[in-house]
Amino acid sequence: MSCRETQELLHGYVDGQLGLVRSLEMERHFRECPACAREYENLRGMRSAMSGSLPYFQPPAGLERRLHARLRAKTGAGRFAVPWKWAAVAAMLLLTAAVTWRTALVSHRPAEILAEEVVSSHVRSLMAEHLTDVPSSDRHTVKPWFNGKLDFSPAVGDFPDRGFSLAGGRLDYLDGRSVAALVYHRRQHVINLFIWPAPEQADSEIQITERQGYHVLHWTKSHMNYWAVSDLNARELGEFAGLVRTTD
C-alpha cells in the first residue's frame, strides 16, 4: 500500500470503517513507514483528546413530557384521556410481568445450551462476512471501541509473539444480552472469544466441550464469563485460553 492510499484511508482506519484486509494492509504500512505512522498517532491522539472534551448536550428537564403532550394532542389518543391512562397502566403491568418472567427464564441458562449458542454465533460470524465491527490488531483501538456500546469494559489482550494475534472486535448477542466478541487469528484458524459479566459467579477452571467439530472452552474469572470457540485443535485453543486467563 502506498503513502497516498494510506493518507486517503487514514480516517476510515481510525474510525474502524475499513474491512479486515484493508486494515491489516494499513497496519503493515505503518510498520514500514514512520511518517505515516506518526500521522496516524497524531490523529489518534487528537481524537482521544477531543472525545473526552466534546460536550453531549442533555435535553432540558420536562422536554419529554412536553413532547408527549404535544404528540398526544395530534392523535386520537387525546380524546379518550382517562381510559387510555388505565390502558397504559395495565400495559405497563403486563410488560413488567413479561420482563420479569423472561429474566427469570434466561438468567440461569444451562451451560450446554450456552455452548450451542456460542458455536452458532461463531459459525454465523464466519458465514455472514461479519467477523468484526472494528477490524484492528491494535488493542488500544479495539478496547475503546466498546465504550458506550456495552455496560462493561472487556479486557482486550493480544499475543502475537505466542502466535495468537488480535484481528478485531464486534458486538454479539448471547445468553439474552449484548456481549463483547474478540476475534483472534492462529495461522488460518479464527478464534472467537466472547466476554460478558457474571456478577454472581466465582472463578472457575477452564472447561472444554466439543460441538459440531468445534472446540468450546469456558471459564469464569473476576466475575466475567469467557467463552472461546474455534476449529483449532484442543491443545492450542487451551494454550490460548490459558494466555487470556492469566492476563487482565
Binding site: G12, L54, Y56, P59, E64, H68, L71, T75
Partner: protein
C-alpha cells in the same frame, strides 16, 4: 391520511423517544442554543409522527436524526440564512478569534470550552459529520444515510473537519501541547 391512533402513537414513542438525547444533542450543536434546539426537536418529532407510517423499521435513531437534521436546515434557512449558505470549500472562517490562553489549557473545563468553540467555528456541513461520528458513534454508512451524501464524502468531510479542528486547536494553544 387519518389521525394516528393511540396504538400508533405508542409504537411511535417506543421507537423514537429513546433517541431524544441524540436528537437534542444534534439540534443543540446545529442551532447553537437551547431554546432553538428545543423548538427544532419538538418540530422534528411532530414531523416524524407524520412520516411514521412510511418508516419500515430498522435503524430508528438514523431515521429520526435524518428528520432532525432536515428540520434544523429548514429552520435555520428560515431564521438564519448565513449559517446554512456558508460554502464548505472555502476558508471563510477567520482563525484569529480564538484567543490563546496557555494557562487555561491545562484545565479540563477550559479545554472543553476550546474544543466546543472550535467545533462551533466549523461550517454546519462539517460540524454535523463530526457530531454524528464522535458523539453518536455512527458508522460511515449511517452518516451517509442521515446527511444524504456518499460514503466517500463522509470520509473526506471528516478528514477536512479534523484538519481544521486541529489547526484551530493548535492556534489556540501555541505552547505546543496537543489539544
Amino acid at each position: 391520511m387519518g389521525v394516528p391512533g393511540k396504538e400508533e402513537l405508542a409504537q411511535f414513542e417506543q421507537a423514537v423517544l429513546p433517541h431524544l438525547g441524540a436528537a437534542y444533542n444534534l439540534a443543540r450543536w446545529l442551532t447553537g442554543n437551547d431554546p432553538d434546539a428545543e423548538d427544532v426537536v419538538q418540530e422534528s418529532y411532530l414531523r416524524a409522527l407524520r412520516f411514521f407510517p412510511g418508516f419500515r423499521g430498522g435503524n430508528s435513531r438514523a431515521w429520526l436524526l435524518t428528520i432532525v437534521r432536515n428540520t434544523c436546515y429548514t429552520w435555520l434557512r428560515r431564521n438564519r440564512m448565513d449559517d446554512v449558505t456558508t460554502e464548505l470549500d472555502e476558508e471563510v472562517h477567520g482563525l484569529d478569534n480564538i484567543t490563546s490562553n496557555p494557562e487555561a489549557v491545562l484545565m479540563a473545563a477550559a479545554r472543553t470550552d476550546m474544543v466546543t468553540r472550535a467545533l462551533e467555528e466549523l461550517p454546519m456541513g462539517l460540524r454535523e459529520i463530526v457530531i454524528l461520528r464522535e458523539l453518536e458513534g455512527m458508522s460511515y454508512q449511517e452518516i451517509a444515510d442521515v446527511a444524504a451524501i456518499p460514503i466517500g464524502t463522509v470520509m473526506s468531510r471528516l478528514s477536512r473537519a479534523r484538519a481544521r479542528l486541529q489547526k484551530l486547536l493548535t492556534d489556540a494553544n501555541p505552547t505546543g501541547a496537543r489539544a
